[in-house]
Amino acid sequence: MNRGAGRNQLALLALFVLAGVVLAACLAPHLPLADPDAVDTSNRLRPPFTPGHLLGTDEFGRDLLSRLVWGARVSLLAGAATAAAAMLVGVVLGVLSGYYSGWPETVIMRLTDILMAFPYILLAIAIVAGLGPGLRNAMIAIAIVGFPIYTRLVRGIVLSVRGGEFVEAARALGSTDRLILVRHIVPQLLSPVIVAFSLDVGAKILATAGLSFLGLGTQPPTADWGSMLATGRQFVILSPHVVLLPGLAIFVIVLALNLVGDALRDFLDPRTYQ
């Protein structure tokens, strides 16, 4: 009981952190922050707590706090949008391949098999190599490599419920396939898909940051946490904070998302709660 309460408190704390970061990211244009792209070469690589620059400055003298907050907009949006796109495509294909046997199932499942025959980030890197570096292309790549997980998850659930008595009853009453799907099968998917999505946003933020770190995602001067880490890397000896802070930001937000996702799973599916 105590452990459960402790976990709930931790998840609540994570939710507050998450809400705070999302709020700051949304309100970035209205916050009293320095221009994230304003170069000030006389103030390069200032340490944290320098007057006027709470978290210091980067190699071009740009305010790190401001870049982190503006970077949060890019990183959070990229993570949520790629996870949402992967979920949407994955769920539609999963429902189709689970409900209709025959060629749709074969085509979809072979496609997911082939995509899953690649190490996740490697395929994303390869797709970006083909499309060309840039945030939009990085997001497309991550969504493409991310959807098979949802397809497998959803197909499994659809397969297990499509032979259920309630589906047969609906069919006997003359429901069309579309009605059965929308009214009886899709509702069964909601809670597992929501849980998978909430845990996936963090993974997608990590993947986008990874591509940006390799120089394949966000391009300068736009700030996102991964690219800030990449450019700061050359100055790590002189000023470790330019690397440590963006990394810490990614770590904290992904940790918070994972904690919230875990709590959501416990809430929506009490059987997994240990």
Binding site: D113, L122, A126, V243
Partner: protein, 316 residues
């Protein structure tokens, strides 16, 4: 076992064809002319025409694919535009470094994960168990490239204990000691996340198994605890562990690209990133293909290991 092996090898064919199609198509995704993308806007018409001819870009797509795949089957991955050398030579040169790094990462994460998981399961809710729960939460949330940089700052720059980058010392190195010194930080960086995942899975599987009746029987007949845990417990927990180790091998091969970039480890991943930035498509294609094939073979090995660990699988 032999018929299972034959069936499993036969199943490799569609996967290999699929992988080769994806690798081929991926670099034809760009909306523009690949020759223009590779050579940049400064290229002359003659250069563009020559490269198009060299890459066979004037042919229909399926002809290009068949041409490419027959060359690949003969071990010809084309020529690197940037290094002006055969891609296969370049990739194989770097392959050993990637294998050393990935295998060390896998060994570290598997052994570390199993030891940590078993210890946590034997003493649930102990201090070690809680510490391992916190570490696993952290491990799953930490960007691998950031962990690498943090370890490098602490152990190379501040403490000066380990070299910060590369695989060998530029002067006077070349022995096993030198390699190990260079390997520790990248291998730990790469293994960290997988180690925590394997540890958590081992813990939950072992907890499940240690509460079974046959474990109670083993204890009741007076077996020493170590024998109960390892011979009766761990041996039966191995199948789910092997599954997750197989999945983690893919994660490690992908993660190696990031780790190699952080530590300037001279592997295929670093070569691939350099190839992308140099717009050297044949080189990138070669790197992706080799890593993907390695992953396919690891999956095959994992499947065969299942059949060995659980003979029932062969008959399914």
């Amino acid at each position: 076992m032999r018929s299972y092996l034959a069936r499993r090898l036969l199943l490799l064919v569609p996967v290999l064809v699929g992988v080769s199609v994806v690798v081929f198509l991926v670099l034809h995704l760009s909306p523009g002319d690949p020759a223009e993308i590779m050579l940049g806007s400064q290229a002359t018409q003659e250069d563009l025409a020559r490269l198009r001819r060299e890459l066979g870009l004037t042919e229909p797509l399926y002809v290009q694919y068949l041409h490419w795949v027959t060359h690949v089957a003969r071990g010809d991955l084309g020529r690197s535009l940037w290094m002006k050398r055969p891609v296969l030579d370049e990739v194989l040169n770097r392959y050993k470094a990637t294998l050393v790094l990935t295998a060390s990462g896998l060994l570290l994460s598997t052994l570390g994960g199993i030891v940590l998981g078993v210890t946590s399961a034997v003493r649930p809710h102990s201090l070690l168990d809680r510490a391992s729960a916190v570490t696993s939460l952290f491990g799953a949330s930490m960007p691998v490239f950031w962990l690498g940089i943090v370890l490098m700052v602490i152990f190379s720059l501040w403490l000066g204990w380990l070299p910060a980058s590369g695989m060998w010392a530029p002067y006077g190195g070349g022995d096993l000691r030198d390699l190990l010194a260079h390997l520790i930080l990248p291998a730990v960086t790469l293994a960290a996340a997988s180690l925590t995942i394997i540890a958590r899975l081992t813990r939950s599987t072992m907890l499940d198994i240690l509460s079974q009746d046959y474990i109670r029987t083993a204890r009741a007949k007076g077996l020493v605890e170590g024998r109960v845990v390892f011979r009766h417990g761990l041996k039966n927990a191995l199948i789910p562990i092997v599954t997750v180790v197989g999945v983690q091998a893919g994660y490690l091969l992908g993660g190696a690209v990031l780790t190699e970039t952080v530590f300037a480890w001279p592997g295929v991943g670093l070569l691939m990133v350099q190839g992308i930035l140099a717009r050297d498509f044949p080189l990138v294609q070669g790197c992706v293909l080799v890593i993907a094939l390695t992953f396919v073979l690891i999956n095959l090995a994992v499947d065969l290991l299942y059949a060995y660990l659980d003979p029932r699988i062969q008959y399914e």
